[in-house]
């Protein structure tokens, strides 16, 4: 028999939300209308397809007073009284929800009692706790505070302590990966026999999380390896339409690279099982601006001091782009490029090909204009920043949350107008990044390049792990 944990409570306290977040399942129906959940829904935690424990979402209590009153009249005690009750009252439509929610308990489920600790404690709550106490099942309480209000918390804790083996705060809208693990840890304490089981579940969850982080790292690396060497080119037949073609190429370049980025972000979202609801970015997030917008280039990427250092590290790549770097930040690199483009040709490190090559006096082929690869030092850091920012939003977007409200858990980076993670890099890390970026830009495949990629991968997974455990990066 697989151990079961029934999530039980008053209607609308956030039972379904807690489960949705804990189980990373955004298919759970959550609604402000109480009595939304009418049937139990099982959430098996499986490892390699084998169910280890089951969490059960249940309807809320509709008739706590009636249930308690009739329990007290029963001669039997413990679960037997409940069995008798649910058998006798099976035909009463009013008690349908109550019978349904008690069903898993009668078959041996332990109890996770969910209350909203931001509202005052009421008599019905005490009655519900009394009912749960009478089941004699192992039980813990979860305080899911729907609002910031703190003043009722102690009253709740005091009352809960009388009836529950353990009490935990778990916010269905803000819980992070670490808090999910902590809640699982706490489940151990309601039933000691399950300790080894939960240890292995938690271990698997942790491996799984690391696994997903390393997949994110691979995806970001993949993005950099595709976006950095990316070029678009076209041949010019006459000099007259050169400007138009260059402008068109530049637009095409931006579109394609943005698309690559978008695919990566989408894949990241999917990895963290946000399948149905699109996560909403915070209102002031820089991710609302697109990759090549002026604002993005102002607030993400390296700061000026780092830019100088990067120039030193980058060495050879500096040459052509030195002036862009100097002007880029203050004027917004790409708008500047957009206007300069016409006069100077493809500026994004572009080259003119086969210009003037002639065979026996006949011009060989047409002139080719190439836009890309983008050699700007900031570019890879901006891509990196945006991916990490997005990752930060995704992993902090609890599955039980359906719309945006300001939360406090997301790491906010707001030092002197720069918003990205890149500004926090030290010289050593910048070197490591720059070396990989050079490899990626040149599509190198030799063994020392592979080593650099490996170093960058480790650096990146470390960063992701820090972000996901809430540590400053």
């Amino acid at each position: 028999m697989i151990p079961q944990f029934a999530v039980i409570g008053h209607p609308n306290e956030g039972k379904s939300s807690v489960l949705s977040t804990l189980a990373e399942d955004d298919s759970v129906v959550i609604s402000p209308l109480p009595g939304e959940t009418r049937k139990c829904r099982t959430f098996p935690i499986t490892i390699d397809g084998r169910p280890m424990v089951q969490l059960v979402d249940t309807p809320g209590f509709q008739n706590p007073r009636k249930i308690l009153a009739s329990l007290k009249k029963k001669s039997a005690s413990g679960l037997d009284a409940f069995k008798e009750l649910t058998q006798n009252e099976a035909s009463d439509p009013d008690l349908a929800d109550d019978c349904e929610l008690l069903r898993p308990v009668l078959t041996g489920a332990a109890i996770i009692y969910v209350v909203d600790g931001s509202r005052p404690l009421r008599t019905v709550d005490k009655i519900e706790m009394e009912i749960l106490r009478l089941t004699g099942r192992p039980r813990m309480a979860v305080l899911n505070n729907k609002e910031e209000e703190q003043q009722y918390l102690n009253g709740w804790k005091e009352e809960l302590r009388k009836n529950f083996n353990s009490i935990r705060l778990f916010n269905a809208h803000q819980a992070t990966y670490v808090e999910r693990i902590n809640l699982l840890q706490a489940l151990k304490s309601i039933d000691q026999d399950l300790e080894p089981l939960f240890d292995s579940i938690i271990q698997s969850f942790e491996i799984d999380w690391q696994n997903r982080n390393s997949q994110v790292a691979s995806k970001i690396i993949e993005l950099l390896k595709q976006a950095l060497p990316y070029t678009v080119s076209s041949s010019i037949k006459t000099e007259d339409n050169r400007k138009q073609i260059e402008q068109k190429l530049y637009e095409q370049y931006k579109k394609q690279v943005s698309k690559l980025e978008e695919q990566t972000l989408k894949a990241i979202r999917k990895l963290y099982k946000h399948n149905i609801f699109n996560i909403e970015l915070p209102e002031n997030s820089i991710l609302h601006d697109d990759l090549f917008s002026e604002k993005t280039w102002q607030v993400l990427g390296l700061n000026k001091k780092q830019m100088m250092i990067a120039g030193g590290i980058g060495g050879a790549t500096l040459g052509a782009t030195a002036d862009i770097v100097a002007h880029g930040l203050s004027f917004g690199l790409f708008t500047a490029l957009g206007t300069v483009l016409g006069s100077t040709g493809a500026l994004l490190g572009g080259k003119k090909f086969s210009q003037g090559h002639k065979l026996l006096g006949i011009p060989l082929g047409k002139e080719e204009v190439i836009v890309g690869p983008n050699k700007n030092h900031s570019f890879p850091f901006i891509l990196l920043d945006r991916s990490l920012l997005y990752y930060n939003h995704v992993i902090n977007w609890a599955h039980g949350r359906r719309s945006h409200q300001a939360t406090t858990t997301e790491i906010s980076l707001q030092n002197d107008k720069m918003q990205g993670f890149s500004t926090l890099l030290d010289k050593k890390e910048m070197r490591l990044c720059t070396e990989f970026f050079n490899v990626a830009r040149e599509n190198k495949t030799d063994s020392s390049s592979a080593e650099k990629e490996q170093l960058f991968f480790h650096f990146l997974t470390g960063k992701l792990q820090n972000i996901s455990t809430g540590k400053q990066v």
């Binding site: 129906v29 007073r65 999917k270």
Partner: protein
């Protein structure tokens, strides 16, 4: 178990891992399941190396899927091996036959023999050894000789040509054959050692043929060897030279060297003719030539081939386990597949979302009412008065209730005609069936003529004992009351906040 990885393994793996794939989590589930089913039972709890896992994976896939493209490549390299060996044998024996050409008048010049068969080989050998000696990290990979590059290109071209011919007979689809082309293009450095080894194979075949031809010619015909030179070489010098050359074998086979007398006796001086040469001296050379060819032609190549083959293995292995796709495969297999999603599909959303619009509700003005006060609502009399007046009522009488009909019924007074009933409820507690039934019973109790007002109180916030309920709360109550379809129940929200000093 050190698996001997080969090029065609890489092609197969590339094909298996890059074919249009499904969702990452599906792949994880599938690969992990495969690992548990096939390997966990096979090795029963023992841990296995990445090598073992990958080898087992490949073996299983080869037997369970349609033909993989590696076979085609493998057949091609077998074919090339056979052709190389044949050509080597042919050239070896032809060249040796030419070098041994002897019409009975002038003996075969040992210098010509060695110059034709050994010298070019020695020159190549010298360059190979040189490049191996100065080899720093990856020297060969980075500076492969022109010849090797050329060889590689020729072989690959040949392969593409042949591929077109054989594709149909193998029934291989384009997808598969494309993989081969892609691997070749993407990882062309992998083909360095295989080509290098073909060269060694050729040299080995060549030398074997040369040695065999020499022996056969010696056996079936009478060949005289002599030496001559335009340079003023003395017999003693040549004798010392042979002694040095024979260092590798002379202690094992001391009789294979010509003696000083024999060397002297086999010196060809054209104007003196062949008759002065002693027969014994003329036949004394061949064992020496045989061993020279063996020790300086055949054996070094065998060692180099051995080196090339091991290097190839090492190179392939290093390459294989450095591939992101393969790393990911191994990771998928070795990490548990965790799921915690809900079992049955989620039920469809049922209730209509509560309206967010403000409900406009008519409000009685200062009517007298009998107030039913649930036990949870605790206000001092002053506050209570303000609260009740905010609903448009004044309290004629007040009574505590449990909101549980069975206990409340006995204590409820029968209604005085014309008087109103106001039940205060906290709007932020959702209306449950218990509450709704209580309200219905109230209507029953007081009869159809009376309206029962439900006064909704908002949450106490920031020290205020009560606030107006939120629109959402009003909406929820509205919806729930409507659901029991009792026209005698009427909700009114409290409007003003209490503003006590």
């Amino acid at each position: 178990m050190a698996t001997k990885w080969q090029l065609y393994d890489i092609i197969d793996l590339e094909f298996l891992l890059t074919t249009p794939h499904d969702d990452e989590s599906d792949r994880h589930k599938r690969d992990r399941q495969w690992y548990i089913d096939k390997l966990d039972s096979q090795f029963a709890g023992t841990t296995h190396s990445d090598q073992e896992i990958l080898a087992a994976f490949l073996t299983e896939k080869r037997s369970s899927t349609d033909e993989l493209p590696g076979r085609l490549f493998q057949e091609f390299s077998r074919l090339i091996t056979v052709i190389t060996l044949l050509v080597a044998l042919l050239t070896g024996s032809a060249l040796t036959a030419a070098a041994l050409w002897y019409d009975g008048s002038v003996p075969v010049n040992v210098f010509r023999f060695l110059g034709l068969l050994l010298l070019p080989q020695l020159i190549f050998l010298f360059f190979i050894l040189l490049s191996l000696l100065v080899k720093r990290e990856n020297f060969i990979e980075r500076h492969p000789s022109v010849l090797l590059n050329l060889g590689r290109d020729v072989l690959l071209k040949l392969f593409f040509k042949l591929k077109k011919l054989t594709l149909a007979s193998h029934g291989m689809d384009r997808e598969r054959s494309k993989t081969i082309t892609e691997v070749i293009k993407k990882h062309s450095k992998l083909f360095f050692y295989p080509v290098f080894n073909f060269f060694q194979l050729f040299a080995i075949g060549f030398n074997i043929a040369a040695l065999a031809t020499l022996l056969i010619r010696i056996a079936v015909s009478d060949i005289a060897f002599g030496w001559q030179s335009t340079l003023n070489i003395s017999s003693t010098f040549l004798f010392r030279l042979t002694q040095i050359i024979a260092i590798p074998w002379k202690h094992l086979f001391p009789n294979t060297l010509p003696t000083l007398d024999q060397i002297e006796g086999s010196r060809i001086i054209l104007k003196e003719g062949i008759s002065v040469l002693t027969n014994e001296a003329l036949t004394s050379w061949w064992p020496f030539l045989f061993f020279t060819l063996l020790c300086y032609g055949l054996l070094p190549r065998m060692f180099i081939l051995l080196y090339g083959a091991t290097s190839e293995r090492k190179c392939l292995r290093a390459f294989l386990f450095d591939q992101p796709e393969i790393k990911r495969l191994l990771q998928r297999m070795q990490t548990p597949y965790v799921s915690s999603a809900g079992e049955q599909p989620a039920a469809a959303q049922q209730g209509i979302a509560p309206s967010k619009e403000t409900v406009s509700l008519s409000k009685p003005v200062n009517a007298d009412a009998h107030i039913l006060l649930p036990e949870d609502i605790q206000y001092d009399p002053e506050t209570l008065k303000i609260l009740i007046s905010s609903f448009g009522f004044s309290a004629a009488s007040t009574q505590r209730v449990e909101m549980y009909w069975e206990n409340d019924e006995p204590i409820l007074p029968a209604a005085a005609a014309g008087s109103n009933i106001l039940v205060l409820v906290e709007a932020w507690m959702p209306p449950i069936v218990d509450t709704l039934r209580f309200l219905e019973q109230l209507v029953n109790h007081y009869g159809d003529a009376l309206t029962i007002y439900i006064g909704l109180i908002g949450k106490p916030i920031k020290g205020l004992p009560f606030t107006p309920p939120s629109n959402q709360e009003i909406g929820i109550w509205q919806t729930k009351i409507e659901s029991i379809q009792n026209k005698n129940l009427q909700i009114i929200p409290c409007t003003t906040t209490e503003d006590k000093p």
